[in-house]
Symmetry: D3
Subunit: 333 residues, 6 copies
């Protein structure tokens, strides 16, 4: 059974699975090498030390591997540290991702099914076929279900990309009929595909960060590549429709400074941009309020990206209160 | 019967109502004074000249008066000009506003009734009472039904403020349930009142421009004054609820540079800001596309405020086509 | 007699008044709860610990209370920490504010009297009456005398708002006659009232921070509410004069990005803005130079808000030197 | 023989080829329709009128057609205007582009050959093959030789894209060896392909403007599509090399606000960006100085894009003087 | 006696002095060359034509010369135009500058004397000597008395630099004692010299524009050169004092984007910057209000540089009303 | 022989030269004063303590002195600290600068000679003479050879200014002939002198920081002073040439916000700006990549000034790999 890092106590034995975030060497005062590890799971981080058989052990696992550990937690300079007596690499298949990463609270398969259903409402045959091609691409679907939507700002958890995509598409369906003359088929398709490239932009199997492709090209370009690849398989896809769909994808950030090579120029692109922004902000602020409101306060900490504070009104008695857990303290006096 | 300015032909007599936009004096080569008028109605603008009894006539009407004119259109330097033989001030009561200003295409009373109905869904008694106070304020309601929402960017026509307010409130109702924990009563009330101060900010009885109060204080401050005035009449209005409502009003522009003295700090304020923005942009771009797309082109003219072009996709066969009337030409060769 | 925190020495008993800035619980290695306090006064901050009768004691005081403490300072991990043996809540009335907060160095009542005297020079009866209404509002005057002018940038001490208001009003009197055609009565009144809302924006009884009203509305809106409240009591206050006065108040920050909903549009508003800015900067830089110039240097530390360094020229032999006290050190070796 | 518009004189017959920039209808005072044309060639623009057989003639040509005209220039309201007696559509094949558009002063085929030669220096076989694929793509090469590099800022003439690409690639060769560790093969290839998408972004057969693809996607996305298309044909093109090459293409504008979805992150990308910028500016300023320096002045007119004036120093006696032709005047008094 | 351009009437003879702003050639319909002149004085601008002896006359004067003209005003295309029968170059010495350029309304010599008197209050001998050196520099003083302070924004008239310098220095004297620890001698000296370089930056003998030196270097650099030149003559001028004085000069614009190579870093530099800004704005807005408020309005036209409107309150009954002269009209009907 | 700080080991004696970065007093728990030193050399920083004869020793050296130390390293709170038993001031002459500061890796005298040689290619006698004057100014040349080019961004080492100047001048020579009509003599001279003022702006004998002159005036103004000083010695230096040269110097930063009082207005100034920028960035990024790429990563740390990450492509097998030394660790467990 998984023992979580925030449950480990001084002088108690530990026997569980962890992820190796960092691995490096240290030298004792006596000049002997030892292994320094940083071990993580969903609940936190702890230092680990391997003092013996360092050469031998060192080659058996790497940074970003999952490992099965045995050892004991001791207190060193007011922090807990694990003295490791046994370590063994574990394959990813045997791992429950939710033990190691924040996860969406919603059911991934249900969400995916809901998205597929909305896609079926698209009447335009070319756009409908395009969506089917994506759903038939198994490796894509697998990544699409797991990827987070962002490393920092919103839906930053396993399944976040899918959750955000579904939420935005539902907003589109709700709002598109409010204005006349919008191409709903185009809007639904573009909404489903708008953050497509994030399956390649982010690396999220060990930690949430950018892949090299993500850093050097960004999800807009990466998404265009995946879209092009599918469009080539649909030889009679209308050229003008493809042009519009691409425009919606590359302009959905809305501003040059947010990495959009074009501003939204059609009514559909404008709506997609505003609702995408709304959904990202609402989720991002909700996540932030859950973690960044000091106990007893209605005011959040400063949000460095938005450069402001947020506020939880007292009025909302019916509102689900943010879950503010005080960090547990273990002190030695 | 109203003869519209764009229907006036050379050498034909004119006998109709017009609005005097400008009034000034000129001097003929012989040293005689004459009156120069700029006359307008919904369809355009024409110069007028009064050559005789200038002193007498001049005192009988002023700039921004409606007048009943008789005269004949002649051609001077390639433009039509009216030589006026009779002019008489007409009271505003006898005027059909729609002859002189652009009007909403929707029924004002129906829209107002729809807004009142949504307001009745507010369950919080304090907020509900507040809305009733506004609806009972007849002079306010009268102005609220007529005011445009903006001088330039969106809903720039008689009834535009009401049309925008209703549209935004409908969007709020559609979207608020999409996120958990939002105070719907507060959102509906804030949406109905969000642009309140525009009834005082803009002067729209003669032309769309800012009033002195509008220039010096702006609609956010002016709206706060009207809100304060009503809140004082509700002695037990919860202080905290008033604080939140005011915050939604003063932050709905979203950014300091758009004249908001505060950024949105609550989830409700964030949603109000984004949907207000969406509705203003969608309407503004639709208005712009109706007038600013050259015939035969899909690309609009440059939009100086948004600093970009807009585009009408060919794909939308079902879309109501923008109504592009080529300006009529009358030439003399 | 007050023992200041920077006077406390290791292993000596302490018996004095302090303010509780933070209060939380810790758990010893043995699993026992204890109380962790952060105690402050004007001179600094010290950690406190209560190891016994935790449940009992904990309910007898709260964060932000003043308390009477007895205990002994010990050294823990190179810092002094107080082991508290007695703690008792003390009412605010028995407290000398100057023991706990930075204070203006000038006499508050003298400054207030000077401001009232300048106000008496206003000849316009409406403006004169308005000022009298404010001076007769005792709760307002009390707050007005205590409030700081800012949490960070200038006059950040008890009495700072009054000091800044007096200083600005004196500058106005000095400079207004330099230009022709300025309305001196309006300028003096607007200067006295310009930061009015800061009595509500900031909370300054326990620490310098923003109140909820301050965060959500800001001092410009809060000041407008107080001004409106008084104007209602003056039924014949000229409408146009009120409009101008309000414009001066809401535009005095000068720029949208500094939270002004309007830029200064009249000559009076322009002068008020520039001199307000001058006075805030001069005081802010003087305060900064007093604390943020390393000993032996003429160059200050980096000022993060102004994004620059400041410099004290050597030339000014007659200048009162900034009072740079090296922080005392207590080390254990 | 081509009669250029700036050679046409009042009351003289005209018989030559022109491009129809605008075509619309007017109505005479008698109520008869006539055709209004705007005719252009390299030297300027002139109005044309067709008064008879309007219905018949109108269907025989369109806006943006080349036409063979006969007629006579008359003076109307101080401008020359052509009364057209014969008009006939002419196919593009019979047209000398240089009669209608500004052209590079350099030999297009020589420039192209020089570029191909530099490309042959690329030693990396994958990159070398890639270039060969582009050179073998005849329709691409044809467009690549004709396209301008920009509609407004630099190399705004037929052949400008090729001229700029060659110039930049020569700069790259000169400068790459100045720094150690740069991948010259990658730099040369990226330089040759950096503005690839401009063959699709701009429409330049009738006037210099953006194509729909250019407006909605931009040359960076369009270039990526062309690059992807070729890379697919090279199945063993190293993935990492493709990633770098794409990064150089999408980051070469250097800044988000200039439409780059990424900033340059590698040393090669930084160099490409700076030298591209240098070459565009030098050419753009030289073009500007040729046309926008008033006679007798060393100071240029204001450059609205760069928001500054430019200056031609007197010192440069050896410098080829800008060719400032005063606009000819034809007046009627 | 000077006949001003706004006094010239149709068909009346003219015999007076004018400045030639533009001079170019036209060609009549008969193919004959004629001279086109643009003639200006303080009151306006008028076109002039010389139809005979063009070759002969053309060489006798140039653009920017003052000329003595005889001719007659005729009406051409609704504008007055002068047919010139006699033209003769006039030396500058015989010219009254005030006939040709806007002038300060104050007495130049009195203002200069006031400035010298304030300078005498400087007690520091080095700074005092420095000022004397400038006053003894006759060519400098002559230019200093004539130069405008700006081409567009404030004090844009002959004597404007002196008027602004005196006004700022008086403000400095009024305000410096308000804060403790300021070096008044340094402030007065820096104030007197702060815009020194404007005597070289602007060319103002024929029109208000920038000199080549002004364009390429700017008045801050040009002022530093003049200051350096004087400092070299004062061999024992304290190095540190010179450093401070230079800092005040180069930082007085306050911001990099306004061309200051440094921000104000000392209290004196901060005060100089704010009061300079105040004086420039107050004068600039007053000038603007005099010309740019439509008759009958309290609201000015849009100010393109400040990006706002200005407002003249009704309240100020005692205020000298702006002098709004309606442009005279001469029409032919 | 120099013992470097990163070679010092616990409990071993030290006897070597160090630079005193900080010097202050502490008080032991017993109330005795002791001296706290921060000692540095090229390899790092270490704390030092002097426990005895504090009064006597304290007067014998100051902050920023080089000292000869004897003592022993002990471990205190997990850091090494030196207990000093002997300390003695050492004159700068006896010091090898390269032991204490980062140095250019290139030979300073060779670089200087190369620069002089390029300068000899200048054919214009005035510019040639000007360069000779600088080379004959021995104190200048000495500083010019030692100064770094920047405190943070590029060439931040002893000799960096010279290295950057030579590199830029070589780039100028390579690129100037690529465009027609450039004044090469002017470009070479301006390139050699462009950062002239940095010899005074930066203080680099003890640490890399700004001098007072550098802070208050900046290297552009300081360079102008040195240039003016030389130009005065060349009485017949053409005025117009001096104007151009000065313009190149003051505009080479290219933008107001980077402290240039003017933007580049001539072709030469534009080229100088772009190539200066290129050289500074290329060197700065190379320096950054050497230190700020975590081991095993291709991605650098975040660059706070450029606000981005940089990337080292895998492709460059021939590239000299950045020298990433893991920081040595000494731990006590």
């Amino acid at each position: 059974m998984k023992i979580f890092i925030d449950e480990i106590k001084e002088n108690e034995p530990v026997d569980s699975l962890f992820l190796v975030r960092e691995k490096s060497f240290g030298v004792t005062k006596n000049g002997n090498a030892y292994l320094k590890l940083s071990l993580v799971d969903r609940s936190g981080e702890i230092e680990g030390r391997i003092w013996t058989s360092v050469d031998l052990v060192s080659g058996s696992f790497e940074k970003d591997d999952f490992v099965h550990l045995k050892g004991k937690a001791i207190s060193f300079q007011d922090h807990l540290q694990m003295n490791i007596t046994h370590i063994e690499r574990v394959k990813e298949e045997g791992i429950l991702l939710a033990d190691f990463f924040p996860m969406t609270e919603r059911d991934v398969d249900e969400m995916f099914q809901s998205l597929v259903e909305i896609g079926k409402q698209v009447k335009d045959p070319s756009l409908g076929q395009l969506l089917v091609l994506f759903w038939e691409d198994k490796p894509f679907v697998e990544r699409f279900k797991i990827a987070p939507a962002s490393t920092r700002l919103h839906h930053t958890y396993i399944g976040g990309l899918l959750e955000h995509t579904l939420s935005l598409t539902q907003l589109i369906v709700k709002n598109a009929s409010h204005y006349t003359g919008l191409n709903l088929d185009l809007l639904i398709t573009a909404s489903i595909l708008h953050d497509l490239g994030k399956v390649d932009e982010l690396s999220y199997h060990r930690s949430f960060d950018y892949s090299d492709e993500g850093r050097l090209l960004g999800h807009i370009i990466l998404g265009m590549e995946r879209l092009e690849d599918k469009l080539r398989q649909l030889s009679d896809f209308p050229k003008d429709l493809a042009l519009q769909l691409k425009h919606l994808l590359i302009s959905h950030h809305g501003q040059y400074q947010w990495g959009s090579p074009r501003k939204p120029m059609t009514l559909e692109a404008v709506m997609l941009h505003y609702l995408d922004n709304l959904d990202a902000r609402m989720n991002g602020i909700q996540q932030f309020l859950r973690k960044q409101v000091p106990e007893g306060s209605r005011l959040s900490r400063y949000h460095p990206f938005f450069e402001q504070y947020f506020y939880i009104p007292a009025q909302k008695v019916e509102m689900e209160l943010p879950n503010i857990t005080e960090e547990k303290e273990i002190e030695e006096e």
